[in-house]
């Protein structure tokens, strides 16, 4: 079997700080989609999400005093900073009301002949996720980004028990929203 060495986030972080821009490109490619999706879900505005992404990524890379001594440490730190920057951004700009106004409307239930069509189900899932309350939406996106329960609890600064409770609420919420598409 081939044994291809893969750079860890922590290794790439160290190389970026030494001026290696190829390491930056690799690190950016790993997070551009998921971190941006997380921020977009919080801010509901593309320009705001780009600004916060920029600030959070740069601030994380400048964290020279932080020692990433285990796998996943960089990821946890990045999401934690991103969340805090996003919260500050929301507080300072009072964007909350605009965010609520942009929530997608509930999809009309499927007709009897096309129930469980994958595309419709996924479209409904997108809508259901977009309508999740903010604390549950955070949990959904962080878990979808591949963070472990411990890492999510660290990012959100909540006890593990609270996180598990939110996970159950989130799943129940989505299950209820998707009932018309899954019942047959």
């Amino acid at each position: 079997m081939f044994n291809v060495p893969v750079d860890t986030d922590e290794g790439l972080f160290g190389r970026v700080r030494e001026g290696d821009m190829r390491a930056f490109d690799a690190l950016y490619a790993r997070y551009e989609s998921r971190l941006f999706a997380f921020l977009f879900s919080q801010l509901k505005n593309r320009a705001d999400a780009e600004d916060v992404f920029h600030e959070a990524f740069l601030r994380t890379l400048k964290s020279g005093e932080v020692v990433f001594d285990r796998d996943g440490a960089f990821r946890t730190w990045l999401y934690r900073i991103a969340r805090n920057v996003a919260l500050n951004h929301q507080r300072s700009d009072r964007r909350g009301t605009r965010a609520v106004a942009q929530l997608p409307e509930r999809d009309s239930p499927p007709r009897a002949d096309d129930q469980l069509g994958d595309r419709q189900l996924l479209h409904a899932l997108d809508g259901a996720v977009a309508r999740l309350p903010a604390p549950l939406s955070e949990v959904y996106h962080l878990r979808s980004s591949g963070l472990s329960y411990d890492e999510i609890a660290t990012v959100l600064e909540i006890p593990l028990g609270t996180l598990k409770s939110r996970m159950n609420q989130m799943v129940t919420h989505l299950r209820e929203e998707l009932r018309p598409w899954t019942a047959r």
Partner: protein, 142 residues
């Protein structure tokens, strides 16, 4: 088990919030039901990807961040040259440099030796003639 019960639990199954019994039942069902398996895989792929939106910063935003990172961390030309000079030379580079010196010395040494063995140019009268600066006196031998 009924497919409608399974499909309603696929989200919980994906996020691992269902109990062990429910998980075992869904596992068993997915092994035998292509339709539910396809629905589950679609949900898994979709959630793992984050969202169906084009969820990534624009190229301009990426370029702006890249420039900021380069300005912050990429050293100047002088600093890079100083760092290259401070860098320890690997053994193979030292050996290559030594071999190059020996080769050049071996090529040049015979030429130098030949130059040393040539007799100085002498005039017929035994006087040294400076042909570079001819004077009426040293032109007499012509």
């Amino acid at each position: 088990m009924d497919c409608s019960v399974i499909s309603a639990d696929l989200i919980a199954y994906h996020f691992a919030t269902c109990d062990d019994d429910a998980r075992a039942r869904i596992d068993a069902h997915l092994l035998g039901c292509t339709e539910c398996l396809r629905a589950y895989l679609a949900i898994k792929h979709h959630t793992d990807r984050g969202t169906s939106l084009d969820a990534r910063p624009s190229d301009a935003a990426r370029a702006r961040l890249r420039a900021a990172v380069a300005a912050e961390f990429q050293p100047s030309l002088g600093a890079r040259a100083a760092r290259a000079l401070r860098r320890p030379i690997p053994l193979y580079q030292s050996l290559a440099a030594a071999a190059a010196v020996v080769f050049v010395a071996a090529a040049v040494a015979p030429m130098l030796a030949r130059t040393d063995s040539m007799p100085p140019m002498q005039a017929t009268g035994g006087e040294r003639v400076d042909t570079a600066r001819p004077t009426p006196e040293n032109l007499s031998f012509y």
